[in-house]
Amino acid sequence: MLAAIGVSSVQEIFERQIPEGVRLGRELDLPQGLSEQEVFAHLSQLAARNVSAEDELSFLGAGMYDHYVPALIDMLMERSEFLTPYTPYQPEISQGGLQVMFEYQTAISELTGLPVSNASTYEGPSAVAAAAYLAKLHNSKRRLVISAGLHPHTIETLRTLAHGYGMEVVQVPLTTGSAGAASGSTGGVTDPDAWAGAIDDDTSAAIFAQPNFYGAVEDAAALSAAAKDAGEPVVIAQVDPITLGILQPPGACGVDVAVGEGQPLGNRLDFGGPSFGFFAAREEYLRRMPGRIAGETVDVDGRRGFVLTLQTREQHIRREKATSNICTAQALNALAGVVYLAWLGRRGIVELGELLLARTHYARDKLAALAGVDKLHEQPVVREFALRLDADVAAVRGRCLAQGVNPGVDVHALSGRDEDRGVLLVAITERRSRADIDRLAEVLGAAVASERQAVPA
């Protein structure tokens, strides 16, 4: 090989190109390489030091959920033909991947009730930020009005990127009600008056979550209508896709752009990623969408085929005038998403939604009946709900963890907001049975009682 190149050594190739001053000239300060079995043993040891949803009874949620992933998804994601190609730049030999994108787009449009979908974005919160950028491109306005019911990570991501976009973020609070009162607080949803009041002619987008971070089902139709009465914002909803078998789809609620975290659809937890973000919109936003879009066409022989289309939106063609910088997204995770939706099917997504609804309702009532535990709000919930504990949440969680039960997310630890002190967020999936919920009630009840005793009010 060296003779063909006309050099005497591999080093010569580098020496002739890299100036001496920037050559490393020493070995990297890293361990030497290992055999396959040694690497696997090391990675197994690390895995063993994590407490996964396999190892405890977990009610953690807040954006990612321990749903069952069917075996056929593992099989399909591991197929070389899906796992190892690059982005489908050569459509003649990429029909499999392109057709998956086309099917995925169809499924997301059906789920959201919105006619156009891209082929995936990174994940939930950054998808919301991408939607805000679409709004800026669409109307060149400066304000983003957001509900405090968005996930704290979404809010922080929006603030990070809005600074880059040159946009201002205005946050609208949730209704408070009389949390903890036996009389039944309402509360827990976007304050409709503050929402309408915050939206003006300079508002580029109005953004809320459905269900919101505290599990409450928002009146999406009312929020959309109020936003459009108050100005001309692009109405953006961050939606949990697993709820869309039973909840009104955003497209039927006047929402313009629906985005969200796709992990509940056939993707594993993976300590937070990779998963996928979905992005669907009304027709008028098609040419400002970020990311890849697969489209149908024919070949020279008239055969049906698929290509990446509307590429004049994209960075590799439009460069600084592109609608987004996104390139590599989450194609393999989106494959898992569409296979999951096909596996659930038209009836299954409703059945699963009803099961989650019933179990969530059961769990909330059961836990709120415990001494020192109250519902944070009385709004309908579908898969997750917030409780207010009359005890230190961290200490209560510690007691539960010692019993092998992870009771949910300490919201204050996640959000850092004072008003979230004492709030526990509990998620239900189809993997958590009635017996599991009863066990949680037993352990949580005992833990709260012990803490209240230990620290008299």
Binding site: R23, L28, Y86, G96, Q105, G164, G273, I326, Q330, L414
Partner: protein, 526 residues
Amino acid sequence: MSAIDENHLHADPGIDGHHPHHPATAAAAGPMQRERARTIFQKGSPGRRAFVCPPLDVPMPDAEELLPERFRRDEPPRLPEVSEPEIVRHYVGISKRNFDLDSGFYPLGSCTMKHNPRLHERAAALPGHARLHPLQDPERAQGALELMFNLQGALAEISGLPHVSLQPSAGSHGELAGVLLTRAYHEDRGETRRKVLTPDTAHGTNPATVTMAGLEVVKLATNPDGGIDLDDLRAKADSDVACLMLTNPNTLGLFDPNIEEIAAIVHGVGATLYYDGANLNAVMGLSRPGDMGFDIVHFNLHKSFTQPHGGGGPGSGPIAVSERIAPFLPRPVVARDDDGSFALDFDREPGSRSIGRLRGFHGNYGCFVRSYAYICSLGADGLKDASEAAVLNANYLLARLREKGVAEHLPLAYGELCMHEFVLSGGPMKRALKIKTLDLAKRLLDFGFHPPTVYFPLLVDEALMIEPTETETIQTLDAFADAIAQILAEAAADPEIALGAPYSTPVRRLDEVAAAKRPVIRQALD
């Protein structure tokens, strides 16, 4: 003859399978071509299903009490109604309409399509990794945090930049982080700098990112040797420049010999230097961006560090930065406490100047597992070997193409040697043989090869950007060179063959103009 010599079933067939259909005999469509594409939505039958719902084990209260009617969906979404065997057969079937790295050579320039070891999939699938919730308490996720901490350390050492955030989801997301970090750095110093310099050879993500971060792109010219035009740089480098974004080696596959001077000019006007890590595979263990003077670098774990590309993701785009940029890094990062335990550090310093989050949770951890496994497998010695072999392979392929007389039609656009990839110009081929780079690429499909990146970088006429990577054998490189030579010879005799290619693929050339003119982007449903 021993029994084993007769065992053709298990004998190494050698490099084979490059017997393209001759167009004269290609009229009969293959099995993949005879069957019209049907989506999963066009299969199945009402009532058919795969999912069996777990039993309803709790009381079912009144529907209105559970969820008021006005919030309820009127009609179920029209998802497919298919059985599990149908789903499996459908997706396995369409998978076979994909070309993939495990099936053949994939010399896609700037994409680093190196082998994806299956060990990584096995490790990432361990429940301790795969079923770990991102909000698990840090003391109950010590293995994951240690893995991330070790990966941060390895990437810092490889890049020569001490502080790492693993959060960005892909290269372009890392770029966005980098430009926002640059902005934060200047704003913290009370400066408002508006301009970002990008060479005309830059990846499209660079200028697109600059716009999203609210800054302006200023283009830099390329000199006759393929590097940055220093005069142009000096003329444009002023106190309004926030950053220079550079890929080194650049998208021509050339290491800029003036990198030290470029860094001096950029730093001289108070700007930062950003390293697009797409081409890091050329220099691992040999030269480090930090030592070249870069302040910020992004890695593409799905390129240099073998995260499988998945047909368009997932990727992962960690960033490493110098001391002066570190206070602004996205949060959280993984830190090791004095007692040796690992923690998520949200406040790097009192009154944190972090730019904040770029996404939910901690980044694409599943990708970290794979890339960390890769770094453990190769180690310090192996990473250097990988880059050396990548550069050797690229130069060998370049030389083989020259030997074959290909250079007459497809000359090297710049330079003599290359790093891990090189760019040929199809201009002379187009003029002499009447076939374009696109036609050559499409004809390569009939030979069983994925074509190189085409029509990029933009400043090369009819560009072909070829990156073989270190995991290809000399036999594969030779076979590819032979195929290019054969296609050119074929075109000299009859350009129509390439102009009509491909012939053997599941579909032939597709009408992309029609697709964009009247976009059909979902299946019509009843």
